[in-house]
Symmetry: C2
Subunit: 265 residues, 2 copies
Amino acid sequence: MTRGVLLDLAGVIYDGDAAIPGGVDAVARLRRAGLTVRFVSNTTRSSKQTVVERLAAIGLPVAGADVFTPAHAAREWLLRNNRAPYLLVHPSLAPDFRGLPDRGRRAVVVGDAGDAFTYAALNEASRELGKGAELLALATNRMFRDADGELSLDAGPFVAALEFASGNHATLVGKPAPEFFRSALASMGCAPDEAVMVGDDAEADVAGALRAGLSGALLVRTGKYRPGDETRFDPRPTSTVADLAAAADWIITHRDSVSGHRQPS
Amino acid sequence: MTRGVLLDLAGVIYDGDAAIPGGVDAVARLRRAGLTVRFVSNTTRSSKQTVVERLAAIGLPVAGADVFTPAHAAREWLLRNNRAPYLLVHPSLAPDFRGLPDRGRRAVVVGDAGDAFTYAALNEASRELGKGAELLALATNRMFRDADGELSLDAGPFVAALEFASGNHATLVGKPAPEFFRSALASMGCAPDEAVMVGDDAEADVAGALRAGLSGALLVRTGKYRPGDETRFDPRPTSTVADLAAAADWIITHRDSVSGHRQPS
């Protein structure tokens, strides 16, 4: 029995500033069908406030508490563990990291910093790791679909670089970390096997959600999806569908039959 | 029976522009003892010509043919395989890559590019890999001892980043690639088990040489050496000595007893 739905954002609901056709209406249909919806994004280039504003701009008003981003999860981790961050993140994330400890034990926080990934900044981070700092990864995605339509380097390759340099193993706070999915599920009082995930990333969204125990995970053929993605990672998608509109149809149709067992696609 | 000696350069014979005390004399003693010497450097910040000039400046004139650098090995690989390079290397290596194919199948060549490791350049390299280019690593060293005395990121972490992004496995042309040691051995008509390596890198120099079949490999406590390095990688050094002068003593003393079996240290 499906009670909750986790939706990825970029590539599922919007692409850049443009809404993906039928997506906003699909969210409304899921809600009308009595399903609770949360938004789990791996964006590491937008603060939570920016995400909320972008959703409002395409006609989808949501509460900040319903949006889960890796930066927010990292902030909670740093507060919980009382660590001062060395930030290797996109400048736009600054609001999410205000008011944290600035002395004491350090943690290097790596997001998709884009052009802020200079040699000097990476080197400084590796020296912090050499002095005992922990390594926190907002995401380990390999690539993202860039404004020019091509794939560009995401945070993952730079996390791999710092792991290789230091011998440290990064703690991942974004997808596909099971804790990330579970904190979104907990916010709606939903067990993992009562929820379905929808995403365009066969590895972080789909395989990640299934490993976290969700009853189903749908791969959409929008955003960064490339033909063949559905067979590239294990576990494979419960089903692969055209877009979020088709995903909503699938979820509503199968809501009583999805119960912790993967469906044939 | 030891007939040949391979010497690392930075951290063994010189540190920056300064000769390491006793190093030049040690090379002269090895030669007077009838041993043939070749220089195998993993520098990816100096062209071969610059290396030869630096050795001359500290009083050690050597022929260019006696110096083996990863850039030179990469150049030979590119010519042999008829590949056009996309270069992610330090600007100072430009002379080593002149006159190579500029069209046709590509290979991304990664050295210690330093500040030339920008996000834009790494991203362009990952797009070349996405289009089918091969990945050639001048070196996979984690860190090097920088001008300020601290460790800085070497080429390895960036090779790891591009491997993670692309799923490609890099072909290594520098140390510890067995082919690199063997091309230096071949130039002196010496079998691997007739040669000893001396270096300050327990992983690339020492473990690498022993894996390539050399009869011995000495770790010096100069350059990037840090206490504990001698037990950090396998195989471990045949012996760990103070510096190149002590290494020369060891090699001359043990020249008849080193024969493809590791000595107790």
